[in-house]
Amino acid sequence: MVNLTVNGVKRSFDGDPEMPLLWYLRDVLRLTGTKFGCGMALCGACTVHQDGKAIRSCSTPMSRVAGSEIKTIEDLSKNGLHPVQKAWIKHNVPQCGYCQSGQIMQAVALLKSKPKPSDQDIEEAMAGNICRCGTFQRIRAAIKDASGEKA
């Protein structure tokens, strides 16, 4: 039995402890904002927060999130939009949008650890998140904007 908290709700899971968190979120809890992209932690579409840190849920087995607090895009902001989401909207970041939940969760975690990230910080933190539509330029601008810097 794996006990955890997902978006503030206590949950217990008694299935295969090797099942990645991604599929528990998507198929069991039906929290589909977190996306499946590669299953190998190569693309970042599945990024969620474990105790405030960005992790790849596609490659994190349930056994490794026991006792953790998991936060997904659905619970990023209780009231209205998170500043990062506002910046994403202001800069018209998404094209197809499929990777953007992961991008946003990754950016939120970055700004939490580095409120004023440099260009280098942004590239390093975001390099694990692929966007096949190619919205990187706008992602960079939105992160700078959310950090209070003029993009």
Binding site: M40, Y98, A127
Partner: protein, 753 residues
């Protein structure tokens, strides 16, 4: 091509609406076919609008305007921009427009969202639908007020009669308007350009907030109560068949319900599923796990001889031989026979995979002889046909809901994966969602064709070609529908090959034969990719060989502004659509604009830095791209800046158009840097983003500046045309920076130290 007609839909609408019996529709099929289509049509909210003068729009008495998005949304913005065109001519308040995604249904006209033609093809019909509803509202108000119709005008969502100061909301006029006959096309009055509120100014994506909050629904997110999940083990080689597998292994995995062999396809493979073995389970993970226990053995069949290295040599060898002539003027052979300088070069672009972020996925629910599917498809009518045929039911018995697409790039115009879901749902008697893994996506794509090009030019004392020969060889998309097809089709030849706009007296374009061994399909900008790579790279080579500036050389090669239709120079080849003749003046203009904005000829670069330019017209849009590169001592390439000039005619949504060209630069970066699919013993060797790498933030251009030309020409494509010039511009920039000429992609194969 799309003629609006009055069509009585009384039978169809019975029980749904009381008024608005006359409905406009776009006619793409004979009237007889319409009657049949109406039987199986799926009613929309727009159909239920009190005023419903077109399949694309319905207006409620409270003023809510329902606009149908009948094309698929994969990030290009047509779901927003086409309704915006309708709202413009309706003079609607955009905030009161609700967009409704259409199911697959021929009454909406073509829904096959590819070829960058959503705006081009439906700009007119959307304007007509909006103007029709607006005229009916105006007439209803004029009748009520007993004033001449000509004295009435509109403000957003309101009809106004200025002389008497009267106003009426659209919503309150819907009842009276719905009693009026639908006006003929000739009666419609369109807003003057100067009065446009939306077109040319644009609007962010209709779904923007949902896209940023995880609330948007993609195919991957579709769900039904009681649904099961499936994963399919496909034959590793195209045309392979199952020899044996372990049925018990998967069933020992908790949550696995059933193991189902799938029939192999009957050639040609077209859009049929590949066959293989499906594992159906309670969740995706269990299905994946179960599949890993299948221990399947295969009879690989004839394509197991396919080896990318040997195949490449074969293509290159073919490209050195005379091929089928697809355009010919003057006498290149005579010119080559003369004494003088001749330049030759060979180019190569490998197979490429689409790798949209959302892998193929579909949910199907088969019951009572019909199936309802939810799929991220570019072509819902294609889904109806393919699924209908596979299940032995009429296409009308396939209801195809189109979800948002997590990228498409051409992959999702093929509904093979949707048919898998439908077959499995019918088999298990429950809704089934088929989820392709990334490995499935990379290994079983409809690949962008591998191509070899041979180029030869005789040049005069100024370095200008007096003769030009170009030959391309690639397995054609036609091989997907006809296993014997070996030559490029008219569509492929028209893509940057027969349309080369240079002023050269002796010119010959040829195409050589190639046999396919994997599925070949459309990929963002299609044959333009390898054709532009060869033509634009060779142009740059000739410029340098002549000691000329590449921009000046290119402009000189194009010559003075003139227009021509492809058929003028290549009889029998695919013509440009009416109103879209090739205007070399527009091509010249984007070249000059991109060069100017990039500071061409005005900037000094340190060692390893330089600019390259390429210009290409595709999907009727003129694009020139200047790429700046920095190559360090380790041979690593960075792309600090890109300047792209675009003439796409009338641009509906400039902000989303800019985004398409920014994205195209990244897409171009991916294929230039690392895009390569290879096969050994017939099986694709790559499987995921570690061995099929696509651009990440640190590989992508740092800054892409998109310069859109103001134009009143009819609208052209924007989703694809940014891609073709990118790779040749990068390679020309690398040459400018290092003196090293790249003739084969991807760059990861080149040594730049």
């Amino acid at each position: 091509m799309s003629e609006i007609q009055n069509i009585s839909r009384r039978g169809f609408l019975k029980g749904i609406v009381s008024g608005g019996a006359l409905v406009l529709s776009v006619q793409f099929a004979p009237m007889v076919a319409w009657a049949q289509k109406e039987q199986g049509a799926f009613p929309t909210r727009a159909d239920q609008g009190k005023l419903h003068p077109s399949v694309y729009v319905g207006i409620d008495p409270d003023g809510t305007v329902f606009v149908i998005a009948h094309r698929s949304e994969m990030g290009t913005g047509s779901r927003t921009s086409l309704p915006l065109v309708l709202a413009e001519e309706l003079d609607a308040d955009w905030s009161r427009v609700k967009i409704e995604q259409a199911v697959g249904d021929k009454r909406f006209g073509s829904q096959d969202t590819d070829g960058s033609h959503s705006i081009r093809e439906f700009y007119g019909p959307m304007r007509e639908a909006g103007a029709t509803a607006r005229l009916m509202l105006i007439r209803a108000a004029a009748q009520q007020w007993q004033v001449p119709e000509a004295e009435c005008e509109t403000e957003p969502h309101v009809v106004v009669h200025r002389r008497t100061g009267r106003k009426a909301q659209y919503g309150e006029l819907t009842m009276a308007a719905s009693q009026l006959p639908v006006p003929r096309k000739e009666e419609l009055k369109f807003k003057p350009r100067s009065a446009w509120r939306y077109v040319g100014k644009g609007s962010p994506s209709y779904d923007l907030t949902e896209l940023c909050t995880g609330k948007a629904t993609y195919g991957m997110d579709a769900s039904l109560d009681g649904m099961l999940y499936a994963s399919v083990e496909h034959p590793p080689v195209l045309g392979g068949k199952v020899k044996s597998f372990d049925e018990k292994g998967p069933l020992q995995v908790a949550g696995v319900r059933k193991v189902i062999p799938l029939e192999p396809f009957t050639p040609p493979h077209a859009f049929q599923p590949l066959g293989g073995i499906a594992v159906v389970a309670d969740n995706t993970w269990a299905a994946f796990q179960g599949r890993s226990k299948l221990n399947a053995m295969w009879d690989d069949g004839a394509n197991s001889s396919y080896d990318s290295d040997a195949y490449k040599k074969q293509l290159q060898e073919t490209a050195r031989q005379a091929g089928k002539v697809v355009r010919n003027q003057g006498d290149v052979d005579a010119e080559f026979g003369k004494e003088g300088k001749v330049v030759e070069a060979e180019y190569y672009v490998p197979l490429l995979a689409h790798a949209s972020m959302e892998p193929p996925v579909a949910l199907a629910d088969f019951r009572d002889g019909q199936v309802t599917v939810w799929a991220p498809t570019q072509d819902p009518q294609g889904v109806q046909e393919v699924v209908g045929k596979k299940l032995g039911i009429a296409p009308e018995k396939v209801i195809c809901h189109v979800t948002l697409l997590g990228g498409g790039f051409g992959r999702k115009s093929k509904p093979d994966f949707v048919a898998e879901a439908a077959i499995l749902s019918k088999n298990v008697g429950r809704p089934v969602k088929v989820v392709w893994s990334r490995e499935d996506d990379i290994r079983f794509d409809y690949y962008h064709a591998v191509a070899a090009m041979y180029m030869k030019a005789a040049v005069d004392a100024n370095g200008k070609p007096t003769a030009w020969l170009q030959r391309s060889v690639f397995p054609p998309i036609g091989s997907t529908f006809d296993a014997t097809a070996q030559y490029g089709g008219g569509g492929e030849m028209a893509m940057g090959w027969t349309s080369v706009p240079y002023e050269i007296a002796n010119f010959r374009a040829e195409n050589g034969p190639a046999i396919n061994h994997v599925r070949i399909g459309w990929f963002r900008s299609v044959a333009n990719i390898y054709h532009a790579f060869a033509v634009d790279s060779f142009t740059d080579e000739l410029a340098h060989s002549a000691g000329k500036d590449p921009v000046e050389y290119l402009l000189n090669l194009i010559g003075p502004p003139h227009t021509f239709n492809q058929q003028d120079s290549a009889p029998g080849q695919k013509p440009d659509p009416e109103g879209y003749a090739f205007d070399t003046g527009r091509l010249r203009h984007v070249i000059e604009l991109a060069a100017e904005k990039a500071g061409w000829g005005k900037r000094k670069f340190p060692k390893g830095g330089g600019l390259g330019i390429a210009a290409h017209r595709s999907f009727l849009t003129y694009v020139a791209t200047v790429v700046e590169v920095e190559v360090n001592d380790q041979g690593e390439v960075r792309i600090p800046r890109v300047d792209t000039a675009v003439d796409a005619g009338t641009v509906v949504n400039p902000e989303l158009t800019r985004a398409q060209f920014e994205g195209a630069a990244v897409f171009g970066t991916s294929l230039a840097r690392s895009g390569e699919i290879t096969a050994k013993n017939g099986a694709v060797e790559q499987s995921n983003f570690h061995d099929y790498q696509v651009a990440r933030m640190n590989d992508a251009p740092l800054q892409v500046n998109v310069h859109i030309v103001e134009s009143e020409a009819p609208p052209a494509g924007v989703g694809e045309p940014g891609v073709p010039p990118f790779a040749p511009a990068v390679c020309s920039a690398i040459f400018a920076a290092t003196g090293k000429r790249i003739r084969e992609l991807p760059l990861s194969r080149a040594n730049l130290t």
